[in-house]
């Protein structure tokens, strides 16, 4: 049987949206798919050496439950939704939300992004970074992890055109 192919375009640069491309890519690789992820625009944040830019923002994100990852059960059950106007005025709100999210991730036995990214690389998932957006955002190749290839839209279609599944995330 010919090996199946999965092509993913990763365009989001937040902690929450870092999960879908790496989860699907690593799982597909475990299912013997050949996988390529094309990182473009804010998705470039996912392949930087420094992942500190990955944060989660509850601002303008009404679907995000705001629950505490510690304390007794009744306390953890409270949803601390705040109006956008307040969220936007509180300094450090995103940093606090991000550290709470990281704790929740840990509590639930969910992998970290660095771990998932490493598992993808170990499983030979091919990472391609969009050269145009690297330049647009003023990044250097030295900002990114080793093992990346750099290319453009035509490079993406070379693989995507032959793929069985193609996802835009």
């Amino acid at each position: 049987m010919e090996q199946k192919k999965l092509a993913i375009i990763a365009t989001k640069g937040t902690l929450d949206w870092a999960y879908p491309p790496f989860i699907l890519a690593s799982t597909a690789a475990a299912l013997d798919y050949q996988v390529e992820i094309f990182f473009t625009f804010y998705g470039l944040q996912l392949v930087r050496k420094d992942l500190a830019a990955l944060k989660v923002s509850p601002l303008g994100n009404p679907g995000m439950p705001m629950k505490m990852p510690f304390g007794p059960k009744w306390f953890r059950g409270i949803n601390w939704n705040m109006p956008n106007a307040i969220q936007s005025l509180v300094p450090g709100y995103e940093s606090v939300a991000t550290s709470l999210m990281k704790q929740t991730i840990k509590n639930n036995g969910v992998a970290t992004i660095p771990d998932l990214r490493e598992m993808c690389q170990e499983a030979d998932v091919k990472f391609v970074a969009c050269q145009m957006t690297v330049e647009l955002f003023g990044f250097e190749h030295s900002d990114f992890i080793d093992g990346l290839e750099y290319g453009g839209a035509a490079t993406f279609f070379e693989f995507a055109g032959e793929s069985d599944i193609c996802l835009y995330i």
Binding site: S26, T27, A30, L31, D32, G109, V110, A111
Partner: protein, 75 residues
């Protein structure tokens, strides 16, 4: 059931049990059996799907007190 290797995936969530299973199977020879213990309720369907797609055989799947035990035979 006899097995050749055991994987403890308790406390791990999707997709880690599958990824660890894949890694553990790589260390076995064809026909050998991997025992997997997990607590992720989603793992039940996921291991069935993994077996179906990779050709490894899911010999059994059982649950006791929130702990799931699987036996997977390498293709």
């Amino acid at each position: 059931m006899n097995f050749d290797k055991e994987l403890d995936a308790k406390g791990l969530n999707c997709p880690l049990p599958i990824l660890r299973c894949k890694k553990s199977l790589a260390e076995l020879n064809a026909g050998q059996v991997l025992k997997i213990v997990a607590t992720d309720p989603g793992a039940v369907k996921d291991f069935q799907a993994f077996a179906k797609q990779t050709g490894n055989e899911l010999l059994s799947s059982a649950e006791a007190g929130g702990v799931f035990t699987f036996f997977m035979q390498k293709k």
